[in-house]
Each structure stands twice: as C-alpha cells, then as structure tokens.
C-alpha cells in the first residue's frame, strides 16, 4: 500500500486580469475570456520562482505529515518547465531548505506540463518498491507565455508537493497508467525564452486524445466507471479543456469543481493537475475516489486513482487550504507591473 502521506500547495498573491492583457494587445477580452473560460491568472513576483514555490508547498506537505522526519525522505523530484537554472538542480535547494540533505537522491524532471505528475509517479514508485521510507514529488512552474500570444493570457505560477510513503496515508494510490506518443504540439528550443505551440493542433490531437487515452486506459485497468469517483482532476491549460474532456469521458461538473482552478488561477503548467489535486483533497472525505490525469505536451498523460483515507480529517487543516490561497489576499497588478515581474523588459544588466 503506497500513496500520499502529506500534501501542500503554494500560489503567488498577485493576479492579472484578461482585460488588462487584452487592452495592451488590442485583443477582444470577452472573446478570450469565453474562448479560454478564464478571467485572470496568477503572477509570480521577481523573488519567487519554481524553487521558492516548491519549498513553501513542501513545508505545507510536512505540516500535514508531522510524524515525517525530513531526514527520512530518500528522494526529491521536481517537475517543471521553469527550473531557475538550465544547469543546476532545483531539488537540492529544496532538500537543504527542509533539512533532508545529504543522504538523498534528487533529480529535476521535464515533460512540458506533465513534469510534475512524473515526479509524483517516480516518488510513488520508489516507496512502493521499498527503496526508501518517503519520497517527495513536487510539481511547480512559473510559466512564460510570449507577449501577445494566446498563452500569455493563461501561463501562470503555482506548485504542489506530495510526500509519498507506505504508512499513515492520506490517500492510497490504487492504480496508475501512463500514456504517451510523439506529438509536436508545444515546445521550446534550447536558448529560446518563450515556448511555441502548434495552434489548433494542440487541442484535438494532443490534449484530448492523450487525456482520454490515459483516462480510458486507467478506467479499464481498474474496472471502474466515472460514476464510481467522487472527484476528478484533469490538466487545465485553460478553463474550457478540462471541462470538455471530463464531459466527454462521462464525468460531471460537480466531480471536477473542487480541482477546477484554471478559470481564476490560469495554467500553472506542471502544477496544474497536482495543485488541483491538493484543492480536491482539501474537501474530500474518507473513502472518496479521485481520478487525476495530467497532460504534458510532446505528448503524454499520467493518470492516478487515489482513495482518500480517514487521516484526511486529521490533516486537512494542518496547513492552509488551496482554495484559500486562490480566493483570499489577492492583489491585482497592471500590465506594466506584470512585464516587470516577469522580466520581459530589456534593461542594462
């Protein structure tokens, strides 16, 4: 029996509205809001990055697992497409910050928006194999969208951390299934600052086919049907895609609601479905089944079936809930502040 022992999330305080971005580029805000089903997104300030988001999310995961000695964490994996360094691991800084060094294995993962669930999957596999007592899987991004590109309206920031173990579980992992093929829907070449995407191609052939492929396969593997689940969390590059894919798979709006954060959070890339899972765990009850399915361009999806245990009632309020981070203490910024925060202005070094 392996699964989640502690979980936590972190989101920036700052937000920018679709209208604020649209007015600069002459875009029609109502049609973007309708098309993406998204009204605003989170923006990281200049002193926040994937490492700092990961540290805060991990501290909350540890708060929800007070019995875990950080020295017993055998691995830290961070999945992100915005690691602060091209060469220098993010995981070691998190390991130092929580006191998990030096007997530990760290690696940074990349797979567009699926890197985070990859980190979770590998961490889970280690504890399942008995290689270590605990392993930490982190999903976080401070994603960039090119100015005036459709992605600029959605690319946002956030992180989630999951301590995997085999005892005192908050949620047991019953099944996993990964599904991937080579699809050139979104990429960033070496030394390029902004990612590129294949426009309309990113929908049907990439997101929908892959998400459905992984979800249908895990349903078949488990012998379960959508109605068996209390909740479902899908990758959310915008508000619309997860809503449509869940409907097409046979899930209801009520099932996706707690983890459907993109309409006000934006696309936290690697963090998207993992942060959604933290918000879902926050409101779940013992015995609830949760289907989580990530998606990463390139393209692949990792699906997990989680069964919530009675420990959820003890731990959910040992750290701040994800919806509180989304709903409260929010500061709206203008486009000028946004481009300064995101270092889009060329200055003398």
């Amino acid at each position: 029996m392996a699964g989640i022992v502690g979980y936590g999330a972190h989101l920036p305080r700052h937000r920018i509205k679709v209208e604020e971005i649209a007015k600069v580029w002459g875009a029609d805000a109502p049609s973007y809001k309708r098309g993406l089903m998204l009204s605003e997104k989170s923006v990281p300030p200049p002193d926040m990055d994937t490492i700092t988001l990961s540290v805060e999310a991990t501290r909350r995961a540890l708060a929800r697992a007070p019995h875990v000695d950080p020295a017993d964490i055998g691995a830290i994996y961070i999945g992100s497409e915005s690691h602060p360094y091209a060469v220098k691991p993010s995981g070691v800084t998190v390991a130092e910050a929580i006191g998990a060094t030096p007997d530990i294995h760290c690696a940074d993962f990349e797979f567009a928006c699926k890197a985070g669930s990859e980190a979770m999957y590998v961490a889970l596999s280690h504890v399942k194999a008995g290689e270590m007592k605990y392993a930490l899987g982190i999903a976080g991004d401070t994603s960039q969208g090119a100015p005036s590109d459709a992605l600029e309206f959605s690319a946002s920031a956030g992180a989630a951390a999951f301590i995997m173990g085999t005892e005192k579980l908050v949620a047991e992992c019953l099944f996993t299934h990964s599904y991937m093929t080579d699809v050139p829907d979104f990429w960033r070449r070496e030394h390029e600052f902004y990612p590129q995407h294949g426009g309309r191609f990113t929908g049907e052939e990439a997101y929908f086919n892959t998400t459905k492929g992984a979800s249908n396969a895990i349903l078949k593997k488990s012998g379960m049907k959508p109605a068996d689940f209390k909740y479902a969390v899908f990758h959310q590059p915008n508000g619309k895609f997860p809503q449509r894919v869940s409907r097409e798979l046979g899930f209801t709006q009520e099932q996706i609601d707690p983890g459907w954060l993109a309409p006000r959070l934006g696309n936290t890339y690697s963090g998207a479905s993992p942060v959604g899972l933290t918000a879902t765990l926050d409101v779940s009850q013992p015995g609830d089944l949760i289907l989580m399915c990530s998606y990463g361009s390139g393209a692949g999806a990792d699906a997990f079936i989680w069964k919530v245990t009675e420990r959820i009632d003890e731990v959910r309020d040992l750290a701040v809930r994800t919806h509180k981070l989304l709903d409260e203490n929010v500061t709206y910024i203008d486009y000028g502040t946004y481009v300064k925060f995101r270092r889009k202005i060329r200055k003398n070094a």
Binding site: H14, T93, N329, T331
Partner: protein, 133 residues
C-alpha cells in the same frame, strides 16, 4: 558585481532553515547563531529552528536601493519578534510599504534574496510577508 555565493553557501543553515543557537546555561536563543553566549561565555549550545511567525517591532523603508534590489524599491526592512521571543531582521515582500505597520503579524517565506546578475548564482533565503491566515 559582488561575489556573495560563497558566503551564502556557508550560511545556508540560517538562511534556509532559520537555524539558531540556544545556550544551555542562559536558555537564550541567538540568531544568527553564535558559538559563544556573549552574556555568560557559555559554549554549550544546541541548534534549534526558529518558528516562522512573529510580530513586527520596527521597520524602515528603503526607497533608494542597492543595485541588486533596485527593481524591488520601495520596500521595507523590519525587525520582528518571533513567537519564541527571538528577534530577526528581514526584508518585506508581497507587500506595499503602506501596508507595513509596527505590531503587525508577519510570516517568514522562502524567497530569492539576490542574484549575481543574469548569469550568476541565485541566493535564496527568508523574507517577511504579512501574515494573513
């Protein structure tokens, strides 16, 4: 450009984990950690981790900042008393300077502190944010 990464590296225990020294005889906790208790001369100590919340005792606002913090100006720097009684000085973030008030509750968060330009090492550490939950 200043090279500060070697100093930052030596100070990871305090910068990353808020490690302080607590002396046996006096029971006093010092941050940054000390090897000798200045009051008793005691060297017997244990390393403790400070709590991450406290109350602001005093602050000042930096409007003309050193170059590496220029983009963040204006910002506040304050001294807070943490819940265990230890005092700590840190820069404020996520907070307009008008929001900063003596007596306010603060929380410590892990942030980027400075960078060696675009090419160099990034230093991480602690900053104050308003405690809102």
């Amino acid at each position: 450009m200043t090279m500060f990464s070697s100093r930052a590296w030596r100070e990871y225990p305090q910068r990353y984990r808020l490690e302080a020294s607590k002396f046996k005889k006096s029971g006093k906790t010092y941050f940054p950690p000390r090897k000798v208790d200045p009051e008793t001369g005691d060297t017997e100590r244990e390393i403790v981790r400070l709590p991450d919340t406290g109350k602001l005792l005093t602050f000042t606002v930096i409007r003309i900042a050193p170059s590496q913090w220029g983009d963040l100006a204006p910002y506040a720097i304050g001294i807070a008393e943490l819940t265990d009684g230890t005092r700590i000085m840190a820069q404020f973030t996520d907070c307009d300077v008008e929001e900063v008030k003596i007596g306010m509750d603060v929380r410590i968060e892990f942030r980027r502190v400075q960078e060696e330009g675009h090419h160099g090492v990034i230093s991480y550490g602690y900053k104050f944010v308003p405690k809102w939950y």
